[in-house]
Amino acid sequence: MLQSIFFLAVLVGTGWFAWKGYRRIWQNIHLGTPQALSGDTSQRWKNMFLVALGQQKMFKNWLPAVLHLFIYVAFVLTQIELLEIFVDGLSGSHRFFAPYLGGLYTLAISLIEILSVLALVATIIFLARRNILRVPRFHKPEMKGWPFRDANLILLGEIILITGIYCMNGADKVLQTRGLEHYAPTGAFAVSSWLGPALFGSLSDGALIAVERFGWWLHILTVFGFLCYLPYSKHLHILLAFPNTWYARLSPKGQMENMPEVQKEVRIMMGLDQPDPNTPAELPEFGANDVFSLSWLNLLQAYSCTECGRCTAACPANLTGKKLSPRKVMMDVRDRAEEVGLLLESGQQQRDTFADGKSLFDYISPEEIHACTTCNACVEACPVLINPLDIILKLRRHEILTQAAGPGDCLSMFNAIENNGAAWAMSEEREAWRNQD
């Protein structure tokens, strides 16, 4: 009874804290502009099933793909056990599902246990890849400090979760042999049936109950902690990968988003359309310099990024020592969204009059966006269909169209196109080549 009350209190506390975190993210994503979605909805479902659920794009590199799959499947399967922990926690029952499911229960828990072993192996290898083997993409400048600790914390959390499961199941397996009423036999679990007796076989009933309860609480408290931690970590991709892949652009990667407002202006300028007397004379801002001028999809993608760095590892500019890192672009957009979100939440700023004297250009320098070759390698590399290029191009548009800045070198190309109709200023005629050898 006391345990149930305590469980309920922790549950309510977690729910309240998590609600605040997730609501903030929801609101931050909605700081963005509307995003037109085009294309076939069935293709969107297909993308979500193949890329998010099926992890299709992870398999470009099979080793991390298989290891990641272990953790992913273990995570999904453990939800069954987690559901039971909720029921047991609230009602005071013990292994509530066992009598109803019988052999199926033994099978389910055994599967969870086997996958937990595989997930543990994967987690240890992942820790080694980050900390000992030092895979280069985990050690770029943008990964210094918090992002690096964040990744390690999550991996440590996974080890704690798995430890909890084995304490709980292992001690339980021994208790089941002691003929105690509360611990009815459940059949042999794949791992804890031998791990339990090996580790805890010599303990007294009281100590076993303590270990079992310790494992149970360790597991559920880590889960609750994880839930609260997620909105502050890079690990949101476990949830957001699904909407992110569903909403991902379906048009060819080479196609840049049209700007109908500019098209309209130019058509009027060229005499193709009549000016609308109702439109204000003042031109709006073009491109993006802040989260308010990016689309909500750009922001959703920033929150979906788990900072794996496959984009940056594939970026030709980054590979050749330039400052541009597509991952950093996504991280910067998220950091800025967080900053803006906090100012709004605390009431220091209002959305309609927002002016904190900063913009995305305080995070992302012109040098970075000027280094992009628009090659789409980052877009292709992302396992959850994030498009950093779209953001880079919106920043470039803001630089040129709103700030009248941008790389000086481009001016001669602009002038040539405007005055000569060619990307270079040439004195000869465009068709001169056909009369030469």
């Binding site: 060819p252 990667k253 080479g254 196609q255 840049m256 049209n258 700007m259 202006e265 130019v266 058509r267 300028m269 060229m270 193709l272 073009f286 491109g287 594939a314 030709p316 500019a317 050749t320 020592g321 330039k322 541009l324 040098e367 000027h370 280094a371 992009c372 070759t373 628009t374 090659c375 789409n376 390698a377 292709e380 191009l393 470039r396 548009r397 630089e399 040129i400 169209l401 941008g406 790389p407 070198d409 481009c410 001669s412 190309m413 602009f414 040539a416 196109i417 405007e418 109709g421 060619a422 990307a423 270079w424 005629e429 465009r430 068709e431 001169a432 080549w433 056909r434 009369n435 030469q436």
Partner: protein
């Protein structure tokens, strides 16, 4: 007779060409790319394809301006091109430039320019498949070790990977792929208006990185499908002092030299 007639010249004769050849700025003005332009014209004439160019009426598609961020200039030049193309009633366009290809195919429709747009490697493959173009047996690339560079705007941007490779197979060339190819191909460094600007500070040029990878396959030639890639790859070879030993070809040049 010139190697190519303009759409206006066709109209004056009361004829309509099968296809418009979009030459592009590089194809019109860059000395190296002009060779590709002429090679494609020679092939099309050889195959008896009735093709026209826009000649002096063609303008930059606006790709570099748009990618540099200058949407006003892009819209302006694009709308002017669309006026011209629609005036002639152009239905089908072939181009040897993947940047023009991408812009014409993916970005002009929203501005009122709807055409069937193909890349010259796709047209050449089609001409060979339908028997309008024949390659000689045991041509000059038979068994020659070559490597193929996927341009970003034909490859990743538009998922065209097979047509160029089918041509290489038809030429009997011994293709050995670079580590990064197809979807994972590495950029030559020219895209996104980089062609017109100095590199940002770094420790290597992108084209050198790419040519180093190409050289790892020990090729006699690096084959490409884009005039900008060709410039970049050739510069990379010069930087590595390999431009005497290793050639850079556009697929059209290889086909032209091996017409049956």
């Amino acid at each position: 007779m010139p190697v190519a007639k303009t759409y206006a010249e066709y109209q004056a004769e009361g004829n309509t060409p099968e296809i418009l050849f979009w030459v592009g700025c590089a194809g019109s003005f860059d000395t190296r790319a002009q060779k590709i332009t002429r090679a494609l014209c020679d092939i099309l004439n050889h195959a008896g394809v009735q093709f026209a160019i826009l000649g002096n009426e063609e303008r930059c598609t606006g790709d570099p301006a748009r990618r540099a961020g200058n949407e006003f200039l892009f819209q302006m030049t694009a709308l002017m091109n669309i006026e011209t193309l629609n005036m002639y009633g152009v239905q089908k366009i072939v181009t040897a430039c993947p940047h023009c290809f991408n812009t014409l195919k993916n970005e002009y429709p929203e501005l009122g320019g709807q055409y069937e747009v193909i890349h010259h490697t796709q047209l050449l493959q089609e001409l060979i498949q339908t028997g309008r173009l024949k390659l000689k047996e045991g041509g000059s690339f038979k068994g020659k070790k070559i490597t193929y560079h996927d341009s970003c705007y034909l490859g990743r941007a538009n998922d065209v990977y097979e047509a160029p490779r089918a041509l290489l197979e038809a030429l009997d060339a011994d293709l050995s792929e670079m580590k990064r190819s197809r979807k994972n191909g590495l950029c030559c460094g020219a895209g996104g208006a980089q062609m017109w600007k100095e590199d940002e500070p770094g420790n290597k040029r992108i084209n050198t990185e790419r040519i180093d990878e190409a050289l790892e396959t020990n090729p006699t030639a690096v084959v490409a499908n884009c005039p900008f890639c060709i410039t970049m790859l050739q510069d990379g070879l010069k930087a590595r002092e390999k431009n005497e030993q290793v050639m850079v070809y556009d697929l059209s040049e290889m086909v032209l030299n091996n017409l049956g």
